[in-house]
């Protein structure tokens, strides 16, 4: 499932593509919303690992503007609820992710990203 939490962790790994290879840009996506169990401990624990700008931009690309542009210093319940929804409940089911640097296209089918490369692209 390409949830935004996964998207926030994926970079292009084509041989020689080492700069500006993150975040991947969504293209022609179909989205589904599915409820997930809320767990505040998990969210607090995961927060330091998030690339904030990439998450906010990805959410906006998918039409969700609930997150503030700057990562807040005060972590309250409303913020965690919004974060929970953006990270864990928005599923990209079909479409693709494109590398901003080398333009490699990684397809997404049935919610699963295909990150395999051709022989000559492997590092």
């Amino acid at each position: 499932m390409v949830r935004l939490i996964t998207h926030n962790l994926l970079a292009c790994h084509v041989k020689g593509c080492n700069t500006n290879n993150f975040p991947l840009q969504f293209q022609d996506v179909q989205i589904e919303l599915r409820e997930a169990d809320f767990n505040a401990d998990f969210l607090r624990g995961f927060l330091p690992k998030i690339e904030w700008n990439a998450l906010v931009d990805a959410a906006r690309q998918l039409g969700d503007t609930s997150l503030p542009q700057e990562q807040p210093t005060m972590i309250d319940d409303d913020f965690l609820k919004a974060l929970h929804h953006v990270l864990l409940e928005i599923h990209v089911e079909e479409g693709a992710m494109v590398c901003p640097n080398c333009k490699h296209v990684y397809p997404i089918a049935s919610g699963i990203p295909n990150m395999l490369l051709a022989e000559h692209e492997i590092g």
């Binding site: 994926l10 997930a36 995961f46 990203p113 990150m115 395999l116």
Partner: protein, 229 residues
């Protein structure tokens, strides 16, 4: 007792393309179950299984840890990735499957972040070419064909473990006798400073199976064997 994940949604047709859980899978489940309390204490936020196949192992970890962790699962076999997701749905554990070799597209972002890393690799000794072909075609042969000493595929992951593990991270690896377990342990210590212990060992048919656990610094359990001297 942690129940074995429900796999009744998978059929013989699926197992033509995807590895059906077998003794090597079950020894890993048993090792994880023995360490369940210790695992809960570490409070993993990011679990990553390489070569998740049916998804059985990650689901089992999900049953131990609950919704307090992210479960990332890679496999080079697209059928396996689909089965992994289906097994997650069936057992109400969200497994985020990615079709990818090892952790390649995750390496930048997961540096020093993986709390629990799992790999039940293709460990059967074969000729080199057979393993290379199996990796290329990413089909059922990729589930077992391991090349020289059965280590061709595992070796590639071993080089990434130190990069991926968090400070309290642990890595569970399944191996067989022919893989030369003491040599794997020695190399991981000498080259990457990772300590390890054999947490389980058993004979199943012709196979002599091992589960090795690797970790940094302080031992997460008492009886730790050091391989530095």
């Amino acid at each position: 007792m942690i129940p074995t994940p429900d796999l009744s949604h998978l059929s013989h047709k699926d197992y033509e393309h995807v590895y059906e859980p077998a003794e090597d899978t079950f020894i890993l489940l048993d090792a994880l179950e023995e360490d369940a309390d210790c695992l809960k204490q570490v409070q993993p936020r990011i679990c990553l299984e390489i070569g998740s196949g049916s998804g059985c192992v990650s689901c089992f970890v999900g049953a131990i840890l609950g919704h307090t962790s992210l479960y990332l699962c890679t496999d080079i076999n697209p059928h396996a990735a689909r089965c992994t997701v289906a097994t997650g749905v069936r057992n109400q554990i969200r497994l985020d499957a990615i079709i990818a070799p090892f952790a390649h597209p995750l390496l930048d972002r997961l540096k020093g972040s993986v709390d629990l890393l799992l790999f039940n690799p293709p460990y059967v000794p074969t000729v080199e070419e057979e393993a290379a072909n199996a990796q290329h075609h990413a089909d059922i042969a990729g589930a077992w064909a391991g090349g020289e000493d059965g280590m061709q595929v595992t070796n590639e992951l071993l080089g990434l473990v130190e990069h991926l593990l968090s400070p309290t991270g642990q890595f569970y690896l399944v191996a067989v006798k022919q893989n030369d377990v003491p040599s794997i342990q020695r190399r991981m210590f000498d080259e990457h400073g990772l300590r390890s212990e054999v947490v389980l060992e058993r004979r199943a048919g012709v196979e002599h199976l091992f589960v090795i656990k690797f970790f940094r610094g302080c031992p997460p359990t008492k009886q730790v064997i050091e391989f530095c001297h």
